[in-house]
Amino acid sequence: MATLNAYLLVGAVLFVCGVICMATKRNGIGVLMGVELVLNGANVNFVAFSKFTSLGLDGQVFSLFIIVLAAAEAAVALAIALNFYNNHLTIDVDRGNKLKG
């Protein structure tokens, strides 16, 4: 029987993976995938907490919302990525370095 901590560990790993993905991927889509990982890391936590603690259904509801929101956000993010591509003819996020300082 997996314990709460095990789930939490999985969540944390997902979270960290996501962050690392965001920070290292040069491909815009890859970065967005990292975002999904981060969100889902939290999702795992919620579901685990709802199972093991008094949080109850709240956690599961929360995770549902997150999934929906992640979808919406992904849609927007993809649109923006597409726009970026239109302008830069690449999806390499490092090429977007005009704004700085």
Partner: protein
């Protein structure tokens, strides 16, 4: 306030304020308000003459009133007064002064009327001569017959009034306090500022010294105004060519004449000078002290186009300010410890406030230091007019540390040093000769420079023995140094200037050796003969078309006899020449008195022998250089034919003043220490000069007045011998040309050079003060630029360098302190900008880093 007091006040204030009114009118002359062609009009001059002339008449009336009133009462008052401090001093003094006068009380009431008339009449006639000039000799000769009687009588009358006045004063002054200032009138004009118990006001203080000074100043000023109408007449033009001022292309400066302005300044000066004399408190003296200074500045720099003139004006004013700095310190001490500036006690609605002169009481009690009352700690006690020790709110005795009293005295005297061109601040006066000659005559010989002596005399009660000794030495050094320089000076005005310094030194020395009356007598006599000589020199310069160098003159006696004779009278007066029938030249009396005081002093204090030797030797030097001047100018053959050919006697408007002044220069001190003038002056002498001061420890002994009188004969002989030698030498060298002067000059080159360079004082001051001051100034400016602006700026840059940051913020917009913050913050901001890399992946890293850092911070500082 008595009627007499009011009358005197009104008269003197009229004399004082008229020149101010004159100034206001005259200064607007240039606008053509009063005349269609202001540049050609003498209106301003006549306005000025009218003002100062009226002032003179007022002063004269005041003098007569004073003599009359003070002489108009019975002598029993004097007996009453014997019991009272100051009064008794005067009375005793008179007894001591005149052996003949002893026991003659009974006669006085009989003599009363006649004496009074004579005293008044004598003076009146005396002065009236000045105006009319015609009966000069007759009156002068007529006087001696009644001399003895009139002097004694007049003097007794004057003395007797002291107590009488004190009764009359009771309206404003407590009779007791008035008794201490028996013939003095004092009151308030208006208040400048009132701070709790402290009041700063404008007051007036009228005593015999004031009145004598008023008469002297107004008379001389009137004469000089008249003289100046002639002397300055070439300014009456629209195109005045100044031959001494050049433009950069070498041409002479052309400018409109400024006749009216000269007289405006003269009027302003007269106002200031009279205000100084009339002042009733030391603060007010300071006020007018500065005002005469600025008038002197304006008049010295009258030829504004000449660099030398404006330099001299600046020098005069700034050197005076150096002295005034001391004056200011004195004022601060006095103000802090005495809480008043008033000379005399002031009575406000029955409440008598002590004046300075009654706050230091002199007694001969055992515990006292010198003759000043002190407490057990050696601090000087401050007393009320009644002679009781004052107490502060906590019930402690009010005191002033003895040292601070000395500081106060020295400080005030410091002002006198500057104003009277004493060593070490003497160098401005010769330069001041850049001003027109009437200015030199009025401001820089007769009146303003004598103000220092006047103040020293006026403030005498506050000086301690140490201060007096300083005064004496300063005077001694000055009189010798200046006289030696005068030997080699060739500019006729410069000789007179150095002579003035030297004579002022005499006065200071006289005052310093406790010869109060001697010093002030010399002040008056000197004023007359020196102004006369300056006017004569002005006449010579005018006659020789602005030639001032004596080596180019000679033989002018024939061309300008009036000038020459008048000058000779002046020379004889300054040399101290005696004459038959008691018609001694005034300098004889006054210098004799000073030398006698010095002799008495050095007998008491053998260690200070120099104080006798210096004036004695200098008497000879004085005689030498003055006769040198006269011989070089008027005697012998013309040295420069061109100058001689064009020389001419001055017009009547310039000669008349000479003729008016000459008899005064000759005879004003008639009678010496028994003469009218002397007696009148001593009427209000400070109380403690009578008895002298006994030394405490190693201190100096100040001689009694009687001891000085005893030395008169001996001193007179000494001085006469010395002067005689001087005359003989001068006659030999310049009158008969026995020696080749050029040879001598060559042989004595070093000494001559030293003297011709005025003992190198100017160089010394330049190196000591002027250059350092400008250095410091430059330093301050540099500090402002550097310390406050650049250094911090530099630090900001240093910070950048240390940080190895290569994008130095190079905004050129701002520098300095703003730049510090601006560039420091700017640099810092720039460095912060590097974090804003513009790369989104790094941004994400920053989130992580941020969270981790926060995490670390959280759990390192977590309260649990």
């Amino acid at each position: 306030m008595t009627e007499t007091g009011e009358l005197l006040r009104n008269l003197l204030m009229t004399a004082w304020l008229l020149p101010l009114a004159g100034f206001v009118v005259e200064i607007f002359f240039g606008f053509g308000l009063f005349s269609k062609n202001p540049r050609h009009s003498k209106g301003a001059a006549w306005c000025a003459v009218g003002c100062i002339g009226t002032g003179f008449v007022c002063s004269l009336i005041a003098l007569l009133v004073w003599v009359n009133k003070t002489g108009g009462h019975d002598t029993y008052e004097a007996d009453k007064g014997v019991e009272k401090g100051w009064m008794s001093v005067i009375a005793d003094h008179n007894h001591g002064l005149h052996p003949h006068g002893d026991g003659e009380h009974a006669e006085h009431s009989e003599h009363e009327d006649g004496d009074k008339d004579h005293a008044a009449g004598g003076e009146q006639g005396h002065e009236a001569e000045g105006d009319t000039d015609s009966h000069d000799d007759k009156d002068a000769h007529a006087k001696p017959h009644n001399e003895e009687a009139s002097i004694e009588g007049g003097e007794w009358q004057l003395a007797s009034v002291t107590a009488e006045e004190s009764e009359e004063h009771s309206e404003t002054e407590d009779s007791r306090s008035a008794a201490e200032f028996p013939t003095a009138f004092s009151g308030r004009l208006y208040t400048l500022g009132e701070f709790g118990s402290l009041i700063v006001s404008l007051d007036y203080y009228i005593d015999s010294l004031t009145i004598v000074m008023f008469a002297m100043v107004t008379l001389i000023a009137t004469c000089i105004h008249l003289f100046a109408i002639g002397y300055m007449s070439d300014e009456l033009t629209d195109d005045y060519v100044d031959h001494f001022a050049h433009t950069s292309d070498g041409k002479h400066v052309h400018r409109p004449g400024r006749f009216y302005r000269f007289f405006a300044f003269l009027s302003l000066f007269c106002f200031s000078m009279l205000g100084l004399v009339l002042a009733g408190n030391i603060f007010q003296v300071f006020v007018f002290w500065e005002l005469v200074g600025i008038c002197s500045f304006l008049l010295i720099g009258f030829y504004t186009e000449r660099k030398s003139a404006s330099d001299a004006a600046n020098k005069a004013f700034i050197m005076n300010r150096v002295g005034d700095f001391g004056f200011l310190i004195g004022l601060m001490v006095l103000w802090t410890y005495f809480g008043t500036f008033n000379f005399a006690d002031i009575n406000d609605e029955g409440q008598v406030t002590g004046g300075l002169f009654s706050m230091i009481s002199r007694s001969t009690e055992g515990e006292d230091l010198g003759n000043v009352r002190v407490d057990e700690d050696g601090a000087v006690l401050i007393t009320s007019p009644e002679g009781e020790v004052l107490q502060d709110a906590d019930g402690n005795n009010r005191t002033i540390p003895y040292a601070l009293l000395v500081v106060a005295g020295l400080g005030v005297f410091g002002g006198c040093i500057g104003k009277s061109a004493q060593f070490p601040l003497q160098t401005w006066l010769p330069d001041a000769m850049e001003g027109p000659t009437p200015v030199s005559a009025l401001v820089h010989s007769a009146t303003m420079v004598a103000a220092g002596v006047y103040l020293t005399g006026r403030f005498y009660p506050m000086f301690t023995a140490e201060v007096l000794l300083t005064i004496a030495y300063i005077g001694g050094i000055t009189l010798f140094v200046a006289a030696t320089i005068a030997i080699v000076a060739t500019d006729i005005k410069k000789v007179l200037a150095y002579s003035t310094i030297s004579q002022l030194g005499y006065m200071m020395l006289g005052l310093g050796v406790f010869g109060w009356a001697a010093g002030l007598l010399h002040l008056i006599t000197h004023a007359f003969f020196k102004s006369l000589m300056f006017l004569c020199s002005g006449s010579v310069i005018h006659g020789c078309h602005h030639e001032q160098e004596m080596p180019k003159m000679g033989g002018l006696l024939k061309k300008m006899p009036i000038t020459a004779i008048c000058m000779l009278i002046g020379v004889l007066a300054i040399a101290g020449c005696p004459l038959f029938l008691g018609l001694h030249f005034s300098g004889y009396h006054s210098k004799d008195a000073i030398v006698a005081s010095a002799l008495a002093f050095s007998e008491k204090n053998p260690g200070h022998f120099l104080l006798f030797a210096l004036p004695l030797i200098t008497a000879g030097i004085t005689s030498f250089y003055m006769f040198r001047l006269w011989f070089m100018t008027f005697w012998g053959k013309p040295r420069d034919q061109h100058v001689y050919d064009h020389a001419h006697e001055s017009p009547w408007i310039m000669c008349v003043p000479l003729l008016i002044l000459a008899p005064f220069a000759w005879l004003c001190a008639y009678g010496g220490d028994q003469g009218d003038l002397y007696v009148m002056l001593t009427k209000d002498a400070p109380a403690h000069i009578e008895n002298g001061v006994t030394a405490v420890g190693d201190g100096v002994v100040l001689p009694e007045i009687q001891e000085m009188y005893n030395q008169h004969e001996a001193a007179g002989l000494w001085a006469l011998t010395s002067a005689g030698i001087g005359f003989v030498l001068a006659f030999a060298l310049y009158g008969m040309n026995l020696v080749n002067l050029d040879e001598m000059k060559k042989n004595l080159g070093a000494a001559h050079g030293f003297l011709a360079n005025k003992w190198h004082f100017d160089d010394l001051y330049d190196g000591l003060f002027m250059r350092p001051a400008h250095k410091v100034a430059a330093f301050c400016a540099w500090v402002d630029r550097t310390i406050f602006d650049t250094t911090l700026h530099f630090l900001a840059r240093l910070m950048v360098i240390i940080a190895q940051w290569d994008r130095i913020f190079d905004e050129k917009v701002v520098d300095g302190f703003v730049n510090l913050i601006a560039s420091a913050t700017g640099d810092f901001g720039e460095r912060l900008r590097v974090f804003q890399t513009g790369r989104v992946r790094q941004y994400v890293m920053f989130i992580v880093v941020g969270v981790v850092i926060l995490f670390a911070v959280v759990f390192s500082t977590f309260p649990g």
